[in-house]
Symmetry: C2
Subunit: 561 residues, 2 copies
């Protein structure tokens, strides 16, 4: 048994120029970052964008999502990558589009985010560590915005910015709980104006959301201009554009908006670009990466963060709406182990066969299957096989899915790569080509912001009603009065339950969904609505993954998972 | 008249592989970052290091330094780059080694740091903005160290770290005064342990100093292990190695320790790598970049930050000592304008001819000429020509230098590129080949730390004595008792005067040099001694350079100087 990084390091990569050639991208249309990573040039990106304007020129769009996460893990990226390889294995021109990993989880609890086993993207160490610098660029641009705001106040505060109202937060791409609540500007007259501040992890920043939604530098600049940074003392909302430094921020991000190309272990093309969180932001790779994949591939496998209630809903209602996309099929990843946990089994007992708990935990998957159908998109269940799964359990899971009208396919990408994913590939192709998808949004843009929340909470989260504090209703009305009524909403809640309460595993229903706060992301173009305690700055665990990572004198990294 | 960025953008660059070939570096020994930037591979770097072990295999080492900076500017980088081009112009194989620019000054007051006019390094926008990500890697590695320290305390504090004694600071590569003095860890039990903290600009961090002094990944790891992070409650000094995460930090820096290759406007090779401040740190590019240049070129032009009292002294006593280097000639950059300011002329009046003030301000240059001779190295003065300089002023300056036994050469690199630098190139070759350099350190390693400070302050800064607070003497003795007596000292003081007091322009003497504090950089391998108020986190000015910077839809940047 080899570890993920050992498998990745044993693999011989193809030069990325050769991988690009397979999907019709010439070497001249790549900016190389070493031999195995490249960014698409701006003219080529524009060519892709123009091509996909006509839906007939697009590949089929396959979205991978999952059941509600448990400590057992579900392996969504592994399935997405394996499915891409499986599609290529059965002779289809398939391209994968994924998010790029944050350094926070990498040194924290989760490790890397490049798939696993024989379904990985490579070079995994470089993708996991600095990659092509996109997240670093976003972090420094985010922090330059913050420094410019504080400097405006420091230098006389001509715009009368109220330091108590600054909602733009600094960021760092690490898990660093000590930066959650801080006071800055201490020390005296020359050292800034004292105020409360908060760092978020870079991937939870509005700027990450903006970069992933921007299709051009002008689009990026318009969004940066529109960021709401704070209020004046007389309560006027202030846009960042008023500080007249938008060009400098965009200059820092000029390369970060262009997609990166890498490969799977089986040398198939993967666009890895942008990594917004799936609670506070849209949770999916950049629009530019999806456009590029749709322009180059006949089939595009992409994924959305966390479970279908968070990532898939945002993919449909935020990303598809902004980008004019329309998914042809959704793959819902489930594992026997995760469903048993939803059925009440403790993690330590997961290896014991237990069809009763599986049957009970299936309720969670059933909700997600139903939810996807509410967008008019057909779905297929991918059973990501673990060595401890029994045949009886797998057969039961297939039967339960069939009873819900959904096909379930066993996947062995982790152990066998694309070869273990051909069944799912065939199933996905059949559905995608059937024309069954009648995609529509969950809610229309003209609904009030509060009603949009009500639709998502009742239809997707299965709450019986939504409780809004009066202060939130007032803020939502203010956003509407400022002209933001048409925006989609982005609900930030726990990923560990379909509800707002992480303890409610399985399929909670008949509860009241308690909204806590809201925030306008006028740059990204959505309204964040918070329910429960949302982590925008994770912490490190007692034994962080950083303890295991090492590098030898040749630069070879070990202990990265 | 074109701006620097316009000149740079009109220039057609050679592929960096062709530039590398000119100095015998094969394409296979480069990791490309686009077509015009590359990192040297680890095996090639080792080859260079092995070659320069024998001084006979090294090129001649030319150090560029300058008079004490004034608001008039002196153009040290412009002279260094122009000299490299001038040496190539007269048929010598010359390589340049420079520091990489910080983003702080770039968006603050100073602008970029790639030379000026027709003596520039390119691609200047990319070198000035993210370059190959070295500083981003250092920033995040620095902040991961901080997060791991705070997490150790959070998770039970097994080592009994005293939060009041943490000297490891977080960093960001920006001018952000509001982060100078902060409190972190507020909010409650799950949000860290409250304590005071401070951000420094990344280039002032000990980790930047470490990366620039590390010749291999093992060397890097040893230095990271040895970083003093804080004390325990019973006052034992704690090394970062005790947290057992050194491998993870080194993994983040595995590429950052390898030199970057770019080119001048005249397509000559330049290693641009590492950018430590010249007050709190050693102020010169990485040892690996200097080794690489010495292995590839017959002549190597490098520079040290600020004036000769700061940068050159540290170059000699810290970098040369650590790396076994020995400069053959020092170029001291001066301008008529800067010397007139040292003679008391206001900035607004600099265009008025004024030989009296020039004569008076020459005192500053005279001190630096004498100082360089104290290291046994011959020097030559480079008069960086400005359009307002009169012939009479230039002749007077040459005459004054001659009276000090120093040749002064007029330089027109800014206006004419290498063609305007051939006189200096000939002068430098003549001195370098003369064998006149009898380089020695200013002080021996066996002196006590306090005596090392006394030697520098009296010999170089021209103080009559040094005043140490008892607390500093105690700390210095403690460092000695812990085994750090042999380390060199790195004095952090203002760059605007030869003394500790920025108001004392010209050639101050007969004053008391007041030490304020000291700090052990046990990872980098020197003791920082602070005098006066040192800025380790600059602030943005009222009208930051960020106001002028823009980028168009093709990614072309404007307004960057």
């Amino acid at each position: 048994m080899f570890s993920d990084i050992e498998i990745a390091q044993k693999n011989e990569m193809a030069p990325i120029a050769d991988v690009a050639k397979k999907i019709g991208i010439d070497e001249n249309c790549l900016d190389f970052y070493g031999k195995y990573k490249a960014k698409i040039t701006m003219p080529e990106l524009r060519k892709f964008q123009k091509k996909v304007l006509d839906p007939k020129n697009r590949g089929k769009l396959i979205l991978t999502t999952a059941v509600t996460p448990t400590p057992a893990g579900e392996g969504k990226s592994t399935v997405s990558i394996g499915l891409g390889d499986g599609l290529n294995k059965i002779g289809k021109k398939a391209v994968i589009a994924l998010r790029e990993p944050s350094l926070g989880p990498c040194f924290g609890i989760k490790g890397g985010a490049c798939g696993g086993g024989y379904a990985q993207i490579v070079p995994m160490e470089e993708i996991n560590l600095h990659f092509t610098g996109d997240i670093h660029a976003i972090s420094i641009a985010n922090n330059l915005i913050a420094a410019l705001i504080d400097n405006h106040i420091q230098q006389g505060n001509a715009l009368h910015l109220d330091p108590r109202t600054i909602i733009w937060k600094r960021c760092v791409d690490l898990n660093d709980r000590a930066l959650r609540n801080i006071t800055i500007g201490l020390g005296g007259r020359t050292d800034g104006v004292p105020r409360e501040d908060h760092f978020v992890i870079s991937v939870a920043s509005e700027l990450m959301a903006i970069v992933c939604l921007s299709v051009s530098i002008s689009d990026l600049k318009k969004r940066i201009d529109n960021i709401t940074i704070c209020q004046t003392y007389d309560k006027r909302a202030v846009r960042f554009g008023e500080l007249k430094c938008t060009g400098a921020i965009a200059a820092l991000l000029k390369d970060a908006i262009r997609p990166n190309l890498v490969q799977t272990l089986e040398k198939n093309p993967v666009f890895v670009h942008g990594g917004p969180f799936a609670n506070i932001a849209q949770g999916t790779n950049s629009i530019n990466a999806t456009y590029s994949a749709l322009a180059c591939g006949d089939y595009v496998v992409t994924e959305a963060g966390f479970a279908a209630d968070l990532g898939a809903e945002k993919f449909m209602d935020i990303k598809c709406r902004t980008a004019g996309l329309s998914p042809d099929v959704v793959v819902i990843v489930a594992t026997v182990r995760a469903l048993k946990m939803h059925g009440g089994v403790a993690k330590a007992d997961l290896s014991t066969p237990d069809t009763d708990s599986l049957r009970k935990g299936f309720e969670n998957l059933a909700v997600h299957i139903e939810n996807i159908s509410k967008f008019g998109v057909p779905s297929v269940v991918a059973i990501n096989k673990f060595v401890t799964d029994t045949e009886e359990e797998i057969e039961l899971l297939k039967k339960l899915c069939a009873e819900k009208g959904s096909k379930a396919v066993l996947c062995e990408g982790w152990g066998k790569g694309g070869e273990g994913m051909t069944d799912l590939a065939h199933a996905v192709v059949e559905i995608a080509e059937s024309g069954k998808s009648k995609f529509h949004y969950l809610y229309e843009s003209h609904l009030s912001l509060a009603d949009k929340v009500r639709v998502i909470a009742t239809e997707i989260y299965r709450a019986k009603s939504v409780e809004f504090p009066p202060s939130v209703l007032k803020k939502l009305r203010e956003y509407e009065e400022r002209g933001f009524k048409e925006l989609p909403v982005c609900i930030a809640k726990t990923q560990n339950s379909i509800s707002h309460d992480p303890k409610l595993i399985g399929a909670p229903k008949d509860y009241v969904f308690p909204v806590r706060d809201c925030q306008l992301y006028s740059g990204a173009g959505f309204v964040v609505v918070l329910a429960g305690d949302i982590m925008t700055m994770p912490g490190l665990p007692k034994l962080p993954a950083a303890l295991n990572i090492d590098v030898d004198d040749d630069g070879k990294i070990s202990g990265l998972f």
